[in-house]
Amino acid sequence: MTKTVSELLELVEMEEHVGNWWHTFITKHSEQHFPEAGVCLSEIQHLLGIWFRALGGDGGLEITGADATLISSRRTILQRVAGTNNKTELAWRDENALRLPPQIDCFPDSKLNRDLYLWLGALAAMEADTHEEAWFAHNQKLTLAALQQYPGLGEKYLQLVEAHLEQRTTRRWPADEIAQEQAIRRALVEPGSMDRLPPARRMPLPVPLWLHPNPPQTASMPGSELPENSRTNNARELEEVQRKQTEQAQAEDEERGLITVRMENIFSWAEHVNVDRSTEDEENEERADEVARDLDKVSISRNGKAPKTKIKFDLDLPSESEDDEIISDDMMLPEWDWKKRQLIPDHCRIIELVAKDAPALPLPDRLHKTASKLRSQFQALAPARVWHRSRPDGDEVDLDAYLRYRTDRASGCSVAADNLYRQMDAGARDLACLLLADLSLSTDTWVNNHARVLDVIQDSLYLFAESLAATGDAFGIYGFTSRKRDPIRIHAIKAFNESYNSHIRGRIEALKPGYYTRLGAGIRYSAEVLKQQGAGRRLLLILTDGKPNDLDQYEGRYGIEDTRHAIQTVRNLGFHPFCVTIDKQGNDYLPHLFGNSGYVVIHNPTELPGQLPLLYARLTAQKH
């Protein structure tokens, strides 16, 4: 018995081996890819970002990789045998991101592959938010615009076109496809010369030098036809068609390629989530449309059966008896709608809470050592201690003052011998700092085997408070979490007029992970609090673990832009916002929000508690 099994296994392995070999052989001979010269997006993502923005691209867009898209262009016999070239990674731009292929290896020279990335970035930078043209004409227009604005790009473009044209093969094609191909070739060589793509039965070969509608149309849509015809009917529909990567379940099966593997060996792996979309838990229908548009691909089936599972996304608010004590619940704050470019007044309702019956607690034992080290560092770090000159008494003689006194006397002035000493003393810092901590549900995730994000945040709050109490700077600590625009729950942990004591520690200990992160509202609330402080310099320190998000449209670009607007407001008030995050992707979107030097990413979350007070010290350091 055992023997048969092992024999069988061997056989399977053998088959697998041959399969692998065949795959390698056939792909190598059919694909126009040069992996050894390939350039990965991750290698030049940073550079591309700067390039894209410098050439006029929208600073709010992220640069990310695009998934492969199914295409149905004509393939060579080898490609069909190998089952390759039926997918390609296209580049396109939507309102959240510029999506580029994760790797470009279509040219044998890596410089050309790199230049192709730069070229696509330049094209995308020329693109306006909305346009009415079809893909074919639009790309020619973008090309012209790029070449006109940056004539220096011409050289790169010529090299790319030359290399790409060599790769476009047209052997024994039907006449309509040849005509289409020729139009594309001409459009590449002389951008702007062709306004219409001749129709053909199949999609043209992909043009890696061009951007695609967002996201690209797939297999079943022949070339230029669709956008041009439907535009007159309904602009909205057109938009949908262009955006959605529609997928027809019964795609044509003909000419799929030779089957060279035994069918029973094909493993398939599909994922299907059955969600009831017949009712929508949104404020209005428009929002549902927007959400649908943000998804890359929506497959809708009409099976008519009731879904097996129903996922309820909403988190329930705690019952009144369980909840914290409400201080106030009538504050309304505005929110920025970036699409309408206007501030919606009184959009978010703020509820201020304070932990009910928080016990008086000592500092947790695990923090004692760090806390005492920080305290002494903070006393010695000297943001608070400076030499005060010209004092009536002090530790040392103020030589400057003494010299002035002697010279004044010698020159015949009658001056009193006072204020000749200097003293090391606490300087008046005239500073107020508000720490705003994100308490959303995501803080419930574990950073390692011992601690959740929230534990790390709690430790950070303890140490921050311990350190600041040592400096004597005025500070307040607030936490926030939201469930859509009503309510935004603000947890007052330490108000500015309270002193740091065991009850404050009790409130820190009582913090629980909450709901979502409507960061803009949190920031606007903090600004209101800071406004009431008298200090000359006011610092808003934001502690977060990820992007702004909430259940409704407050996600992606909307949340980012609202947060950015809130930060601008804070800046305009003359306060100084600064963000501390443990989100490793922070570098992608934080520069847009806080500027190049207005944030810091802590890569190892467990370092946050120790780092936060030091960061504060660095931010407020005084030279003297």
Binding site: A54, G56, G59, P151, V415, P591, H592, A621
Partner: protein
Amino acid sequence: MSSETIPFYLPQGNESELFDQAWNNQLPVMIKGPTGCGKTRFIEHMAARLKRPLYTVSCHDDLTAADLVGRHLIGDQGTFWVDGPLTRAVREGAICYLDEVVEARKDTTVVIHPLTDDRRILPIERTGETLKAPKEFMLVVSYNPGYQNILKGMKPSTRQRFVGMTFDFPAPELEQEIIQRETGIDEKTAQALVKLAAALRVLKDHDLEEAASTRLLIYAARLIKSGMDASESCLAAMAEPLTDDLETRSALMEVINISLPRS
């Protein structure tokens, strides 16, 4: 001072008229603007136009009131009093320009305040004098907002004593003319440099801390004019001063290379 010696300055708006009026009405002026956009040059130009001597003080962390007002020094024949630049400007009816005023120590505000309200006096404690500023005297301060540590910045009570002007980089045509007049470079290169600067200025706050200044453009143009390779000149005069990050620098170089005219 003859008109030939007036330093070149190309007005971008009504700043010259405003300055003239402020001078006529004995109002102190505060100029805000990014590094290298022409603040200092503007003051030099205006001082020459108004035929007033100019005392420029670059403020720094250790600049005290005594550095502005003056002090007693010890010499061979005992001690003697030496006027500081501010006192000298008041005595001569000159223009005193405090560059980057927020860098100075806080006690300097003590001497600035009485000079900037309608009293226009400078009490000199050490000599017992109180100078009354003549009507030709003018105090000008400048600073670069958003440049300092959060603890620095002008106090609102000090700011409220000045007439304010905000400077920014000149409009493209003006900037091109400035570069050509300053360096004598050809039109095409000047145009390309201005366009390049516009591209790089977008990156401020996102990828770069500071925008590429007109001063850097002039440096680059001078290097090109004296025969250096255009791309190398821009690397030395623009990319290097703007960033220390190697990746950012190579991104800037990509933009620089497509912006320069082909030779």
